[in-house]
Each structure stands twice: as C-alpha cells, then as structure tokens.
Symmetry: C2
Subunit: 552 residues, 2 copies
C-alpha cells in the first residue's frame, strides 16, 4: 500500500502546482447559521465554517481557486458570487442563483472552480435572496503573479472589509419589502469593519460629546486595530459589501493615495477621504508619517442618505503603542452626507493608469437604461425601462444553452426609454411591469450602456445606485475606466462600455441588496452557444431537471 499512497501524493502535488508556479488553492467551506455578536448584540447570522465574516481567500494571479461549498443551512439554498472575478470560461461558477446556477440545496456540496486572472482587491458574497445581508461575505485578494510587480511600492498591507448590519433578520426585511403597504428596511443599525462594530455607542466617546462608551462583551465586536510601523507605506485594501449604505472613509491626520479600483490600476491621486459604494473595492497607499506616539482613527461614515448610523471606527496602531491606546484626537470629520459635489469630485478623479488598455473607439450597440421606482399592483418596485426584474427558478445559463422554451420571458426588454421622460419629477404613471426577459448581446462586440437615474416615487428624491456588472470589467466613458461597479448619482447618468468577450449569462444590477430584491437589474447573455462543459450539478434543477431527466 505504501508505494500506491506515495504515487497518489505525488499526483496530488503535481495537481496543486501547475506550470509557471500557478497553484490550485483548495478550500472546504460549510455555510450555516451561527450565533454571532457583530456589534456586541447577539443575532443569528450566516457564517462560513462557524465564522463571520467568511475566511479570506488569498491567491496569486493565474491561480485556480477551488471552493467545495457545503450548504449546512436548514431549508435554504445558497450560492456564493466571487465579486470582481470575471469567470472567463467558467460562467457556471459566477455564483448567481437563477442566472449561472441552481441554488445549492441543504446538505449538498457544490464545487466552485475558477481562475483569478487579474491581481486586485475583491470579495465574495451570497447572491440568493438577501443572504448577503445576513453576513454571507468575505475578502478575496489576488496578488500579482510570481515575478510580476505592482506598479507602486508598499511595505505592508492592511485589509479593510466594510459592511452594514441590520438587527432585523433578512426574512423580515424581505417580506417587508414585498409587502403592501411597503415597509422599508431603514438605515443600518451598525457599520462593520472586518465584521466588527459597536452598536449604540462610540469608541471615541471620550473625545466626542453625547455618545456613550462601548461595552465590549465579546471578541466578536472588539475594536479593529490595524498595526503599523512608523515611516512606512501601507496598502489598505478596502472593499464594501454593504446592503444599503454608501460610505466615506478617512484616517485621522493621514492622506491616502488611490492606486487600484475594482482590480484595475488607476492613475494615483491623493485624497483626505474617499467614498466607497456597495460593490466597490480600492487599494490606497497610506504613509505612516505622523507623530508615532499616538494612535489614529480610521473612520467610516454614511454618505448619500441622511445618516442615522454611528460611524465605524478602527485604530491605526503605531508601533510600539498599545493597540488599546485610544487616539486622543477626534475622529476625522466626514463630508456632509448630501455634499454630492464632494462625492462627484472623488469619483471623477478615478482614471485608468496610463498605459492601460484603451476602450474600443466605438460601440455597435447602445442600450439606455432608465432607473425608476414604481408600483406593481400596489407593491413598490424598482424598474429598468419600466421592467422590474423577476428572476426565474430555472437558471438562464442552462435554459439558454439547451434552448428550453418557457423557462423565462421570451420578450426582449426595451433598449431605451421615452426621450421626453422627465427624470427630475416622479413618473406621471408610476405603474410598471415585471419580466425575466434577457438582453441578448452579439458575441465579441462592443456595447455601450447609459444608466440614467431619475426621481423616485416621492418628489425631490433621487437615490444613489451603484451598478455592478458580472463577468466583465467595463470602461466608464464619462469619468474613468476599467471597473466592475459604477455609481449613478441622484438625477445623474453614467455611460459605460464593455466588450462581450465572455460567453455566459451575466447580471447587471444595482448592488444595493434591497434594490436588487425589488427588481433593479437586467440580464445580459452573450455567446451562450459557445459555453461548454457546464457541470450538470450547476443546472440540474427547475425545468432543466425535469425536462432532461430520463428514468429507466
């Protein structure tokens, strides 16, 4: 038996280290409910391997990630989306229920296997119902391949995964959003940094008036400390998987240089504070050039909605100060929540690093998407060109590949909206329609998408929507390039360009969890006939399972 065992071991290591040092990184995860105190109040959350947030995946560009995901929820399906990973050639691993795969049933295991081709700061999260908001997320960081170098220098790295947290369970949130009368989820109770926050108090109560001190009753809600040495440069990897909140981040007395956005290098620019919308990720360089006898606050606060949530604070801990030594200064003051000029100025500064691939000079198709808030039989919805997205139970990838009629609405959704639509006022007729229709795009063509924001149901209200495209990076024609998530500001528009070079079916949607739940998204399909080797288990459900099941 010994030689056989040895042979097996040799085979395995051969598998694990592919040519040119590219590795297969293997993870075994179990998704299940856990008791957790993310903000010192105990709730039931979705954890991975008993932990919240989920484990950090760390790999090098060119590596293959294999996640064996076992669903240990009791009655719920589950999927995980690898946000920012393009899934070139593996559209079934995109982790979007109804779109790229069947939800993984309780007690079943699905194997996600995909390449991380581009270095960058990414994350992963649930993409079924509102499970992301229950805590199903974590970081995914891709370093440059061996022998490659980043186009900037740093001495150390700090990871900052941002999220918002509601005390109300996601079932209650979801049924409220789907109720008539409509019940809005409201503002989050707590902002979390790396899954930790403190509810109804401030770590900086000793320097801020009117705020009570935090009683930390668990290491699960202990303040986050970011250890640094003086006079070094650190790369802060910052990502936001908030359910709702748009955020602003600042570090007391320190400036930051933005160098990466959504896995794409940007032309470096210096900021005192930065905005982060749900679905965004950034790298910023921070030099520890301040008085080393102090620690400093990293502060995260709400933007774009009237803030009702305390800023989240972490401690930038200069060596050799104690990690628990609270800064004696006040946390940095964030810009006014509705200072959109400040937000736009930041966003418009994001430009691709010089020398980066240029977008194609022109597009062959142009799709204009009007974002509106509407009513459907009295229920509140979000719509795109007056169509509110209703996802089918049979995933598109299987039904489109196998030409299964009736699995989704055959009618193509509209490519434009009336030219005289007044985006500055509530719609004259707020009623909308619902559909699971698909935008079918020609393979290997260039598509322009113009997102047009509008007034919501109430007068003088227009909200921020950070739109995220699966399977692709896109160029922002207006203000920047090379991203997978772009914001549209209230009443504003954003023009994007992308190339349909990734056969599959891809969601394009507002990354705000309740907005997607209310229909704010569209489906793009491209070159589905070119997709091959879809694992059966990805599509063996719904109408596919029945139609193609042959019993003896």
């Amino acid at each position: 038996m010994a030689p056989k065992g040895l042979f097996l071991a040799l085979c395995l290591s051969a598998l694990l280290v592919a040519s040119w040092g590219r590795k297969v990184r293997h993870y075994q995860w179990e998704v299940g409910y856990v008791f957790w105190k993310p903000d010192c109040q105990e709730k039931v959350m979705i954890g991975i391997n008993g932990q919240f947030p989920g484990p950090t995946i760390r790999a090098k560009a060119g590596d293959t990630i294999v996640v064996e995901l076992k669903n240990a929820l009791h009655t719920e399906g589950v999927v995980i989306h690898w946000h920012g990973i393009r899934q070139l050639g593996t559209p079934w691993a995109d982790g979007t229920a109804s779109i790229s795969q069947c939800p993984i049933s309780p007690e079943e295991t699905f194997v996600y296997r995909f390449k991380v081709d581009k270095p960058g700061t990414y994350f992963y999260h649930g993409h079924y119902g509102m499970q992301r908001a229950a805590g199903l997320y974590g970081s995914l960081i891709v370093d440059v391949a061996d022998g490659e170098r980043e186009p900037f220098h740093y001495d150390g790295e700090l990871n900052v995964l941002l999220s918002d947290w509601y005390h109300q369970d996601i079932n209650t949130q979801a049924v409220g959003l789907s109720s008539n009368p409509f019940r809005w989820i409201g503002e989050p109770q707590t902002l979390l940094i790396n899954g930790r926050g403190q509810h109804g108090c401030s770590l900086a109560s000793h320097v801020l008036e009117g705020l009570s001190a935090c009683e930390i009753n668990s290491s699960q809600c202990a303040p986050v400390t970011l250890p640094v040495l003086p006079n070094r440069t650190y790369r802060l990897r910052i990502a936001s998987t908030t359910s709702l909140a748009s955020l602003n981040l600042a570090v007391g007395s320190h400036k930051m240089v933005v160098v990466e956005a959504d896995g794409n290098y940007v032309q470096p620019f210096e900021v005192k504070d930065m905005d982060i919308y749900s679905g965004d990720s950034y790298s910023v360089l921070l030099t520890t050039d301040q008085d080393p006898s102090s620690n400093y606050w990293l502060s995260v606060s709400v933007r774009g909605r009237e803030p009702k949530t305390q800023p989240a604070l972490a401690i930038l801990n200069y060596h050799p100060n104690s990690a628990t030594k609270l800064p004696t200064s006040k946390p940095p003051v964030s810009p006014l929540w509705n200072d959109y000029a400040h937000s736009k100025a930041f966003t418009y500064r994001i430009l691709a690093l010089k020398g980066t691939e240029r977008p194609p000079a022109s597009a062959t198709r142009r799709i204009a998407l009007l974002n509106t808030q509407n009513k459907l039989n009295g229920y509140t919805k979000w719509s795109i060109n007056n169509v509110s997205l209703a996802l089918p139970s049979t995933p598109y990838l299987g039904s489109m590949k196998h030409h299964l009629a009736g699995a989704f609405d055959a009618e193509r959704p509209p490519e434009s909206f009336p030219g005289d639509y007044d985006v500055m006022r509530p719609a004259t007729n707020p009623n909308t329609t619902q559909s699971s229709g698909v935008y079918v795009l020609d393979f290997n063509t260039t598509v322009d998408v113009i997102l047009q924001n509008a007034n919501a149901l109430s007068a003088n209200v227009s909200e921020i929507h950070p739109w995220h495209l699966h399977g692709h990076d896109f160029w922002v024609l207006g203000y920047g390039e090379g991203r997978n998530t772009a914001v549209i500001f209230p009443y504003g528009w954003t023009a994007l360009r992308f190339v349909t070079d990734n056969p599959g079916v891809w969601a394009f949607h507002c990354h705000i969890e309740p907005h997607l739940h209310m229909g704010m998204g569209v489906i793009f399909a491209e070159g589905v006939h070119l997709v091959s080797r879809i694992p059966k288990e990805a599509i063996a459900c719904g109408m596919m399972g029945k139609k193609f099941m042959n019993l003896p």
Copy 2:
C-alpha cells in the same frame, strides 16, 4: 371558438365529478412569509395565500384532493405533509422532504394529488426543517361519503385546531438546537386555538387573580368564539399540531364523549377533560345542556412539562348571547401537569369501535426501538437504538426505487437494544451515532414495533414522545387500536402493530418538532419496487437529478 370552449368546460366538469359522486377538489395555494399577529404580537410567519393558519380543506371520503402548491418563500424549499392521510398508491404525495419528495424550490409549483379514503379529522403541516413551527399548517376534514353515515349523531360541528407559538424565529430555534452548548427552545410563549391566542394576559382576567386583561390589537388575535344553540349535540373536531406542548382540553361545565381518534372511530367514552399530544386528532361530542344564559370557556393548557404558558381560552357561545359576553365562571381547572396517572387513564380508554377490523393475530417481525437523549461530538441529539436520524438530501423514494447507491447509509439500523439497558437512569455512555439508514420491511407483512422510553441525559427526567407513522394506521396493542399517532409516557413503553400494505418510504418519528430536528425518528421502506409513476418533479433533485440528467 365558442364550441371548443364549451367542449373544454364539459370535459372539466366531467373530470371534477367522478363516478359515484366522488369529486376532485382543487386548491391553488401560495406559501410565503407574512406579517401576522397570532397572539397580538407581530411576527413574520409562514402563511398560505396570505393567511394563517392555512385554508381548511374539506372533502368527502373517496374524493381526490389536488393542491397546486407554489413556493413563494425567498430562498427556502417547502413541502406539505397531509397528516393522517395514508397516501395509498401515492407515496410521492406524502409531503416529507428527504423522504417522499424533493423540497419545492422557490417560485416553483408542485401538484399534490391524493385520495382521502377515510372520513376523519386530519390536518396538514410543513415537514421540512422546522417550518411547521413557523405557522405552516391547517385543517383537513373528511366527511363520510355520500350515502354513508357516521356511527354517531350530531347537529352541528365546531373545528378546533390547536398549536403552540414561539416568538423566536425558527432559524434561531434551529441553530440553538444544533449548537454546542445546546440551547433549548424553552416553553412556547402562547397556545393558539385556530391560530389565535393572546400573549401575556388572560381573557379570563376578570375572574382570575394576578392576570392582566388582554388588549386585542388585531382581529388576528381576537378570541375564538364557538357559536352553539342550546340543547344540541356538537361534534368538536380537535387536532394538535404543536411544536412541543402536550395539551389538555376542557369545556366549563360540559362533558365530552370521545368518538374518533386520528380518523378512526373509537368506542365512545365520556370525559371531563382530554389530553391531546402533538399529531393527535379527535372528535368529541358535546351536548349544550347547560344554562343557556351563560357562555362557557373552552380551555387548553399544557401537560407533561411544567407549564410556563398561559392556558388558551375560547368562548362557547350559547345563542342568543353575545359572542363577546365573557363567561362569569372561572375556566375549567386542568389536571396537574405531571399527573401522568390521569393522562394514562385517558389514553388507555381509547379503544377501537366494536366491529372495527381486528389486527392480524401475529407479526412476522418485531422491532424494538429505544428512545434516548444523547451526545454526538458534544451536540445534543435524540436517538433510536443509538442511531440519530440524519436525513439525506436525495429523497429515499427516488433513490430506493432507482437503486441509486450512496444516496443514504446502506447499513440497516438495529432492530433491538441491549436487554440490560437501564431505562430508569441516564445512559452510562451517552455518545451516539448518526445515520440515514432505513428499516426495509417485507411487503404485505405484519410488523410489531415496541417503543421504549428511557431516562434523558439528566437524572430523573423522561419526557413524553408522541410517535407518528406516515402511510399507515396502526393498532396500539397495549391500550387501543387504529391510530397514526401514539404517545409513550415517561419511562413507559408502547407496542404497535401495522401491516406493510402501502408501497413507499415512510417516516416514523416523534411529532415534537425539535425532537425530530434532533434526530428522533426512523425510516420504514416497504414494497418500493411496486411504486410506479413517480412524478419526475418529486424526485428530480440531489443525486437523482445529476445521475439521471442526460443533456444533448
């Protein structure tokens, strides 16, 4: 077009009324979360067509019930079990996840189609995870066929569906039960009659000291009134779908005559109060022979566990008194919770109506099942002969019918337990094992099952377990006959006999929801090779879905 439409209509009505007046009764249901105030506190519950409890199904013996069940939950599968219906020839319609069918996925519809062959008082409920405890249940009443008569007379009928209600959501309950350290769900907050109760108060506060009056803030928690005429005989149909509580029911100043148990006629006997365990159903005759100027309390209280839950009260409303006229007497006093002699005396009086079919004189197989509370890697479980039931993700009915290896544990569970096991003390070794193994029974044979209760993990604790058998009625050899749910008393044993005349795979389990969740059940399979025409959609999931999916 008109003639074609007419032809269709004629066909449909031909379908609806089969020969001998037997009807197809058609229901379209949508299962989804709703806001509801079952005890005047608003929670999220599972409702059917927006209502809690679900609609009452009413049919005649021989009718066919067709329920088109659409799952409108967000991420959860769902099934419904038709408790007490034997599903002769339709084992795939028994509504047990992992056993008879795949959970119905969100947005999908499954059609339950089955015959109700025996008149009686039944109910239905969720049978996946702990969804029953979230409110997924309702009444199912089968009258005698046209031309048939019940063996007793009554002038009117009143339906009383009993349940218990927890304020904690079922996810939190389930994760607590599956946690180490173990978190028990505790006693229910409220007992419900027909889905209505009042939390933390008593309708009888005007005649009971120390209890506050109820503030009814919704018709969803309004007192249940049972309208009667004086000097008539009423059939009370009583069923219990409690998650945990064993109950005692009494009607002030009135006696009751028990005439039916679990859809089987019993030798009539008179009681002042009666016990009802989870899974039980009864009919009792009540004669309105009391002073008609008063209304009277129907009172339901907890038995067998130290009661921490207020009795539920309903008003027996004598015509022409106002329905809101509260009885001036105190509610009937229920026996002490631990007066097991009283409980046993009631249970032992339940005997089949004379002339009912006798059990076979002997059995060909005898299975002794020891019920113990155990530890599995530190987690608290319930076990049968030291095996805690772990349900597979691929339903047995499909995998056994199609000989799919590996879908469940091949090892057969033990038929007996050590003769020297001391049921009066905690187990010397509390450790248990987990398995999805099946008791395979020869078709058309007689099987005896002896259920033996034992001491739980703590000394001097032995609990009530009402065991429910799917697909069959059984004879209770010890104390009665013809039932589908039988109790074992603390430290006690109960001997059952049944005939394996229903090809399929059938659960036999403790009807207490958290006990089943913790493994307290076994699986019987009989004549699975004789099962034919299983609808694909019942079994197109898990390993079946993958193995038998043939893609072009």
